[in-house]
Amino acid sequence: MVLRLLTHWRDWCGDADYPSFAQVDPARMAEIWDFSFVLDIVGREDNPVVRTVGSEFQKYLPQTVRDCALSDVPAGSLIEHAASYYHEIIDRGVPISRGGEFIKYDGMKVLYRSIILPMSDDGTSVSGLFGAANCREVPNG
């Protein structure tokens, strides 16, 4: 999924450095959209706000996090880990993918792979982040 989203992102870019959120059509990428999230960084580079979270992604959260600052998302949730390196995307201006494992808020061990993509309103400066992650729970041991 991470690579498929990266391919979409490159297509959206065209000749520009970054694509715009206006180019994202959830209907054309439903299987990815359900696992995605959007971070608003305008004026909040140090603590972005979660604007949307896909339905599948939400299953790994104990509560809704829409319009919630990243610093306030529940500990041990997928968004906490999948978005933890957002500042690197702002700094470097390139898509970055990370994976790992964490213990979920309910004690389950979760393996995940995420990606965060830089988005822009003007095509040249990063003004938002589009992320996605897939994961699976594995028995502790």
Partner: protein
Amino acid sequence: MSDMKAFEIHTYQSGKWKIDSVFDDRDLAMFEAQRMDESGRYTSIRVVEEIYVESTQETKTRTIFRGSKIAAANAEQLRKSKENRQNKGKALQKRKSTDVQRKKVARKRKIEKKASPVRLILILIMIAAAAGGAMYGLMFLQGGL
């Protein structure tokens, strides 16, 4: 403390390398780079491994994948260089052998040049000796009769 690794996919665009994406997983980066390379959409692709050594606070980089176009270009360059070297070598050898041949001919001519007056003198001496002998013979015959 462990070293941190990152795998950057670079694409060659407008005469310079540009970071396309960054992965923390080598296999994923290699898979994506190969896929991009095979798509034929990019002039060149490479994967650069970046290792940050915490103990020395140094970053080491090395290229771990070069797209087929770069590899082909490198191979072609290598072939051309080898061909040029071989051609140069052959030309040098040819010139050397021509030089040797020319020197031989020159030496021979020199010897011939040096030898020709000696031979002429020898011939003249032989003719003179023969003439003298003949005259002496005639005189001996006249005296004897």
